[in-house]
Symmetry: C2
Subunit: 159 residues, 2 copies
């Protein structure tokens, strides 16, 4: 009995819980993220936005000044392969403009149009409505945000 137990030290047996934990954590993130995005979906559809487009608008609203594609990408952890077509769609919607930076022709500056700025007021209603509808506890949410941010950073750091 004791021999069997010590034979498993460093073996597969006591690593299995951790193994499952890794899969469960990653799946829990995956499922929760998609559920949250789906929850925003119908509300944002009324504004004519998708969830990633809404995140981009949040960045532009907060900056309240033209940003380069790379600046937006740094805040959202997204690259130009994702942002370029998304920003073109925001431009097609008349919410933003894309213009080459005269000072550095490599950069493309994204600026809000007047309709883009005006959308902020309607968008401000959305998150509170969802937060209350789903009865999220504020303390739990704040802790979740801290833990998730720490997790994200520890992953980014080692890559």
């Amino acid at each position: 009995m004791m021999q069997e137990m010590s034979a498993t030290v460093g073996g597969v047996a006591e690593r299995l819980p951790q193994l499952e934990l890794g899969n469960q954590l990653c799946f829990a993130l995956y499922a929760a993220s998609r559920a949250a995005t789906r929850a925003y979906g119908p509300e944002l559809a009324e504004l004519g936005l998708t969830y990633p487009q809404y995140l981009t608008m949040l960045v532009l609203w907060e900056a309240d000044a033209p940003l380069a594609v790379g600046d937006i990408g740094a805040r959202l952890h997204l690259d130009s392969g994702t942002l370029t077509p998304l920003l073109k769609r925001l431009e097609d919607l008349g919410l933003a403009t894309r213009t080459r930076d005269r000072a550095d022709e490599r950069r493309v500056l994204i600026a809000l149009t007047e309709p883009g700025r005006e959308l902020r007021a309607r968008a401000a209603e959305v998150p509170l409505r969802l937060f209350q509808r789903y009865g999220i506890d504020i303390d739990t949410a704040q802790k979740l945000i801290r833990d998730l941010t720490a997790l994200t950073e520890s992953i980014q750091a080692s890559t």
Copy 2:
């Protein structure tokens, strides 16, 4: 002063923190989920799998019996629009088979092939390696899983 304060009760002022909280929580989920999926990426690439394909294989490995498309979808919260092409790719990889259920011709049964079953051993190494590389604390992870699962369920419930 008191008048000003009571004038804001039910107003925008004290709702702003909650408003930001909603956006922060949703973005934290979005960023953490993508970071975790990216972390799995290179490890899974060595097995020839993407992350959603890996999740599907986990479901099949655990069931250890043929499952209908809908059974897999129920476990992963994915619909046939996502699963049908994914399962066809697993079939192309020689890891699974897709056959109409003779008892109910509407259903398509997904079964592991022998190479599909054999891949389980190599896949078992992956999550532990990642869990340790990023130095995730086990208690924090377990709490996160509980909170995320509860959050996901409370969102699903009200929809």
